[in-house]
Point group: C2
DNA sequence: GTTCCGCATGAATCGATAG
DNA sequence: ACTATCGATTCATGCGGAA
């Protein structure tokens, strides 16, 4: 069984207890500026970089030279403009020694609704990839799947509504035509991920859907490797990492979240807040063949 | 007939001849920074911001207070890292007086093929929206798209809570009144655009597809307004703007591109390098009601 | 077991109003 | 003048109960 450590406390301090060069993948979604005020108090956009840099410094220390840091973030609108703190953060983290290797796009299919005179709905978030070294571990095969199989499975039980939904134009673009997928032999992923946010009626909704950390864990780690989430929240990343046979470290500052995750892990897997479906096929064509 | 002006020359100089506050929409795809000496002479990533700022200063001058500037750009990978010149450009343009209103994502469905050991294919580009003023013209109805098919089932039978305003219980102040949607056939798009890259086998490879400038021209201008592309290239934006009944200004520094566009406009519309297909509207959900 | 359908939910944003 | 709170607007999804 792979080790699980969850800590209650401020990650800036807790991280100092973690040995250097010991983590293979950091994947986290910190509180965004001025958002989730009710739970996390809210860091203002002006202070965000200053607040985050000491944490990213510790993250740089604990990450293995071959490891990867995935940072999920999106700037909010302030007085009609997008804030620039994320841009400044990237620039400052490079000065710390991080390499800004890539920027993935998480396209949120069911984004927050609303209507404004000078703005459309925001349907994407940044997934910033940072590394310590140009030579990092990446297991591309783990997220590649023969497109034929996937398309066949997809099409076998495709209802009429599914077909029509797939041709939906909402999102301001071309409707995708499922039949186009059939012609492809293999699906190579790109740096754009199409995932819906999970909006179930549980009390604590996850920051991102399970398949998001799952995809990056498969891409950047192997079984037995160590995954760290310094802003654990409701624990999605940690739970997925455990189920995927990775050693897991989670840090959370709020007792209620910490206890919720702790209680979840204490119980039997069958009553964990998440149920794992071995046959699950995600929206980006990933087939999970073996879990646990 | 709407005026068409195309200039041969360096846009930094040519722009000085254009009156201030005279342009409704600037949409352009400047040469990306590149190490190689390509067709445009290759601006290195280190010099990119310095090179672009005098141009953006002129663009700020010629744009109407209610106008919009759409900048299509994507940073290159240099020594395993994404360059930061686009981030720096945004920060510096704000110091010039631009408002960074929004960042649209252009998701390129059929992006350039390839495989690398530590990188997936790049399937998106930035479409940065800048404005002079918080109050700019935006004609959202012109780009509305068919609503998702969920609505047909959803609206068949209205429950009691659907008939009145139903406020969310989480205290977000978010509520809904489903009965407002009964007449609704279309929805507003998001800030993620799904467009296939057009692979025309011309010499110019960097051109974006017609529907990209078309979408922004519909969104930010009306007939008779003025559209400017200071890096005209093969002329996609200018041709689309003319077909849509907008006054058009194009600037190009390379004689061969300039002459190609010039010759295209001299000939009959039927032999223009682009053919306008009324059926295309179905591809991305836009209704083209009147062309020319 | 399937499929169908009702329904709550969501890292939002703006402008007006109140302190 | 300046900030803080409030009301209004909006669409796709997954869950769970019903057919």
């Amino acid at each position: 069984m792979n080790e699980l450590q969850i800590y209650l406390g401020d990650c800036k301090e807790v991280l100092k207890q973690i040995p250097e060069n010991s983590v293979d993948l950091i994947i986290t979604s910190p509180p965004y500026a001025d958002q989730r005020k009710a739970t996390y108090g809210g860091i203002s956009p002006e202070n965000y970089v200053e607040w985050f840099l000491p944490i990213s410094k510790q993250l740089l220390r604990v990450l293995k030279p071959t490891g990867t840091f995935i940072l999920n973030i999106k700037e909010k609108v302030v007085q009609g403009e997008r804030s620039t703190y994320v841009l400044e953060l990237i620039i400052e983290m490079r000065k710390q020694g991080w390499l800004w290797t890539e920027e993935f796009i998480w396209h949120k299919k069911n984004c927050y609704p609303g209507k404004w005179n000078n703005r459309f709905r925001d349907a994407w978030e940044r997934l910033l990839q940072f590394n310590k070294n140009r030579n990092f571990n990446m297991y591309q095969e783990a997220v590649m799947v023969p497109m034929g199989d996937w398309a066949q499975n997809r099409l076998r039980n495709l209802s009429e509504t599914d077909k029509r939904r797939d041709n939906s134009k909402v999102g301001s673009g071309f409707g995708k035509n499922i039949s186009n997928w059939l012609e492809r032999k293999e699906a190579y992923p790109t740096n754009v991920l199409h995932l819906a946010t999970e909006c179930n009626n549980k009390k604590h909704s996850a920051a991102f859907p399970e398949c998001l950390p799952e995809w990056f864990i498969r891409l950047f780690t192997q079984e037995g490797n160590t995954v760290l989430d310094p802003f654990m929240g409701s624990g999605t990343t940690c739970i997925v990492a455990q189920k995927m046979g990775r050693a897991t470290i989670g840090i959370e500052i709020l007792p209620e979240y910490f206890e919720m995750v702790q209680n979840g892990f204490k119980q039997q897997p069958s009553v964990l807040p998440f149920t794992w479906d071995n046959e699950r096929k995600t929206n980006y064509g990933l087939k999970i063949t073996k879990i646990q």
